[in-house]
Symmetry: C2
Subunit: 199 residues, 2 copies
């Protein structure tokens, strides 16, 4: 459960981890099966075996719940080792690939990216609560690497951030049925760090 969701919890009722879990799982099931368009509070309540009031007691609305469910897949922000930019980036892309253990979860990610453009409020909330903290972490790692002299200092760091993460993220989008191996993630990273042109 993210901090946002915790802040949104209402009232003094005893917390029910079981109900929360069932609601989150039902949300992910529906997203995978029917996309955002087919995911409703009614559907989630029915699938989770709880009343709609139980959901509204815990989440402000459908957008918060969907955002939270997808954030749960990703897990907490990773801790970077700080030993080298390669080590840091490997932890970051492995974290990006986390939560894709099941076919259901991979479908959730794929549908989410595509459909979000039609749900501006959800899109904004997801960017703020999930994407922004991860981008900030990547950016901080790159800045430290420039200071340590590990990265070229003539590059726009927004461009570098895109270059180092995009192969993993794009590959996952187009291979929803598979998980990237650690070896593949390392090949992507070494390719972009060292360049693919003959030096």
């Amino acid at each position: 459960m993210t901090e946002i969701a915790q802040a949104e919890r209402r009232g003094g009722r005893p917390r029910s981890e079981d109900a929360d879990r069932a609601i989150i799982e039902a949300t992910l099931d529906l997203l995978a099966r029917s996309g955002i368009a087919g995911t409703t509070i009614e559907g989630i309540a029915a699938q989770a075996g709880v009343g709609k009031t139980t959901i509204y007691r815990r989440w402000k609305g459908l957008e918060s719940l969907i955002c939270d469910a997808v954030a749960e897949l990703k897990g907490p922000l990773p801790t970077l080792p700080g030993t080298s930019i390669r080590d840091d980036l490997l932890v970051l892309v492995e974290a990006a690939a986390r939560g894709r253990e099941s076919a259901r979860n991979r479908k959730v990610y794929a549908c989410f990216i595509g459909e979000m453009t039609r749900y501006p409020a959800l899109d904004a909330q997801y960017r703020e609560s999930v994407i922004a903290p991860r981008r900030a972490l990547t950016r901080a790692a790159l800045e430290r690497a420039v200071e340590r002299g590990e990265l070229r200092d003539d590059l726009d760091l927004e461009v570098v951030a895109e270059i180092v993460t995009a192969p993993t993220l794009h590959w996952m989008l187009h291979n929803p049925e598979r998980n990237p191996t650690r070896e593949l993630l390392e090949q992507f990273l070494d390719g972009v760090l060292n360049g693919v042109a003959r030096g």
Copy 2:
């Protein structure tokens, strides 16, 4: 109109470019507004102002029509200059960014990528008719570059293909409201060709 759609045309009726155009545009409008889930032959016919039979006379079904409409956005396969791998790749990523001139078209691409995982037949057809020829073109350009000694020869070319195209494709997915500038595409390419680590 792609070759596939031409092959799927039926009967000896006079070809009506106007009706074809209206049907394609209606399909793209509906995809942008309602996603694949909300795009039906009925809806397309109503929006295009044609009868359903007019659509079925020209396309085998909804999947062929959707595939064709998105393929039309992309336009024909580009011709590569062959002067250098950088020149070839720049033409390839510019072609990948083509068809995104309007907000509507950018929404179509975004929804398409995300929702396809739930439509396996459409997914397969799109991969075969749109993605595969472009990947083959990229692959051939990379192979020529290895032969010419422009690229490192110790890399898996599938990995290289992902590295050189992913920044552009991933950036577009996350920036549906903007088009990449040529300068940005060049920064991506130079970054991955030369590497972002200090040499």
